[in-house]
Symmetry: C2
Subunit: 308 residues, 2 copies
C-alpha cells in the first residue's frame, strides 16, 4: 500500500492529505436545512448533510491530492447515521481514486486489535462470502498496549496490502505528559519510534514500510530525531495549519529523496471559507475555498521541501 | 454514575461485570443459520445473530450482576450492522437495569476526544432537539495523548453524570513494553495512575470518583501499588478467567471497605458452554451455561474478598 501512496504523491507532486473532519459548525447552513427538511432534526439528517458537505470538498480537490484522512470520531459523534456517512465517504473517496487513511487511533489487546483490523482494513468470511466492512486503505493505531496490540494490524496489512500509521508523538499541547517522559536517558516517543521501525521491517513495500508513524508538525525538532530512528517509516504529520505547524517546520520530516512524509490539514482546508483569506468565496462557495486553500498549502510545502 | 454502580454492586453483592464480546465462533450455529435464512450471508445477518446471542445471555444473568461491558471492537468488526447490534445491546441492557460500560478505549487530541465523548456518553443538539447517540453509562479511555485528550471525557462525565475508566496497566502479555518502562525511578503505569487520581478529584461522586482506571487481573502486584496511588478511583479489572487471573489474585485491587474494584470476565462467561466444566448444557443451553459460570465466578470472588 505505501508504494501506491508514494506513486500518487509523486504523480501529483503533493505530499499532503486533506482531513475530512466535519463538525456541525463547518457545514453550510443550506446543506443542514435541506437535510432537516428531508429527515427532520435527526442524526440521520446530520449524516446526510455531512456526506453532502464532504462530497463537495472531495469533488473540488481530488485531482490535487493523493489521499484523504477522515477522522472517525467526527462521524461516531453522530452515532450510527454518522458512521454511515463515514462509510459513504470512504467509499466515495476511493471511487475518486484517493487513498483513504481512516484516523481511528484504535489499539487493544491482541484478539481485540485483530477485530478492529478486520473491521477497518480487513475482511470477514461469512460462510464462504467475503465482505470488507469499512474498507479503508490505511488506519492510525495507538501503541499504548505494546506489540501484541499492534501486530494484529500488521498481519492484516500483510494479508491485504494495507497500511498503518502508529502514534509516536502526537500534535496536541499535552502530548509530552507521557510521550516525552525520559526512560534510560531517552524520551518515550523515541522508544516507541524504535519499535515502529522494528515492526515495519516485517512489512516492507518497496523502499518504505507499510508500518508508518504519526508525528505532529508542532514538534519539528522531535520530527528530525524520529526521522533518523525510523528511516523506513512514512510519517503522517498532523498539526499543519490550524494547529500552528508551517511548511518551513516540516523539512526535517522528509528524507533526502523528498519522500517519507505526508502532511495533513483538516480545518485549514475544509473550513477555509471561514478564514478571512478565503472569505470572499462565501459559505456557498466552500468547495472553491477548499480548493484555493489546498493550492496554497501545496505551494507552501513544495517551497519548503524544494519541489516547487 | 460511580455511586449508582456501587449501589448496584452492593445490592447484588457482585463486584463483577460480564464482557459482551461476541465472536462468530462463540455464536451457536442455530442462531447463525436462522439469521442467514432471513438476511443471507451478510453483515446484517451477523448483526442480528449477535444481538440474539447477547439477549440470551443478558436474560439469563441480569439479576446476578450490576453491569455489562460490551467491547465495541467485536461489533465494529462487522461494520455498520455490527455497530447497530452494539447499540441495540447497550439499549437492551439498560432496559434490564444494567449499567453499561462501553469498552471503546478511545483517546485523541482535545477536540476529537470531545467528539468521542459526545457520541458515547454525551448528547448532540440538533437545532434544539437533544439526542444521545450511543448512550453508554461509562466508557474506557486511552491516556497516551495526555490530559488534553482525557479532559473532554471528564467534562462530558460531569455534565451528564457518566463515568470513564482510563487505561493504566492493561492485562495483555506485552503491556509492559511501554507501560512498565521506568521514568525517574518509577514505571510509566504509576505515573499514569497518579494522573488518574488527579483528574478524578474534579469528578467525585460520593466516596469514589467518576474517573476510574483499568488495571489487569494478570498483574496483581501492580494492582496493589496502583490501589494506593489512586484511592478514589474504581478499578475495572479485566483478565479474570480466560486470560489467567484468579479470585485470589484480586484481593489487592479492593479497598478495605470491600469496594473499589469491579472484575470483568468475557469469554469465561459468554462462551462458558465451550468449557468442559459446562459442556453438559450443550450449545443450545449457552444461556444457562453462562448463568452457571457467573454463579461460580461470584463464589470465587466473594470467597477471595470475604463477602461470601
Amino acid at each position: 500500500m505505501i508504494s501506491k501512496l508514494i506513486s500518487e504523491i509523486k504523480k501529483k507532486n503533493a505530499p499532503v492529505v486533506v482531513g475530512l473532519d466535519p463538525t456541525l459548525k463547518f457545514i453550510p447552513e443550506s446543506l443542514l436545512r435541506e437535510a432537516y427538511k428531508e429527515k427532520g432534526k435527526t442524526l440521520s439528517a446530520i449524516g446526510d448533510a455531512i456526506f453532502a458537505y464532504n462530497k463537495g470538498i472531495v469533488d473540488a480537490v481530488y485531482d490535487l491530492i493523493p489521499a484523504v484522512k477522515p477522522q472517525i470520531a467526527m462521524y461516531e459523534q453522530f452515532g450510527i447515521p454518522g458512521l454511515i456517512a463515514f462509510q459513504k465517504t470512504v467509499s466515495y473517496c476511493k471511487e475518486k481514486g484517493l487513498i483513504v487513511i481512516g484516523d481511528i487511533k484504535r489499539g487493544d489487546i491482541g484478539s481485540t486489535s485483530e477485530a478492529y483490523a478486520i473491521g477497518h482494513i480487513g475482511s470477514v468470511e461469512i460462510d464462504g462470502n467475503t465482505v470488507f466492512p469499512f474498507d479503508e486503505d490505511i488506519v492510525t493505531v495507538n501503541p499504548y498496549l505494546g506489540s501484541d496490540g499492534v501486530k494484529p494490524f500488521i498481519d492484516v496489512c500483510n494479508k491485504n496490502d494495507r497500511g498503518i500509521f502508529v502514534l509516536v508523538k502526537t500534535s496536541n499541547p499535552s502530548s509530552g505528559e507521557f510521550q516525552d517522559r525520559v526512560i534510560d536517558g531517552r524520551p518515550l516517543y523515541e522508544i516507541v519510534g524504535e519499535k515502529v521501525n522494528e515492526w515495519g521491517l516485517d512489512s516492507m513495500d518497496g523502499d518504505y514500510s507499510n508500518v508508518g508513524a504519526v508525528v505532529g508538525a508542532t514538534y519539528p525538532e522531535m520530527g528530525k530525531i524520529l526521522r533518523d530512528i525510523m528511516p523506513k517509516a512514512y510519517i503522517l504529520v498532523p498539526g499543519y495549519g490550524a494547529q500552528g505547524g508551517k511548511g518551513k517546520d516540516l523539512t526535517h520530516f522528509f528524507n533526502k529523496d523528498g519522500l517519507g512524509a505526508i502532511v495533513n490539514s483538516s480545518r485549514g482546508i475544509i473550513a477555509a471559507y471561514k478564514q478571512e483569506k478565503y472569505a470572499s468565496y462565501g459559505e456557498e462557495g466552500y468547495m472553491d475555498a477548499s480548493r484555493a486553500a489546498v493550492i496554497d498549502m501545496l505551494d507552501d510545502i513544495r517551497s519548503a521541501i524544494g519541489t516547487k
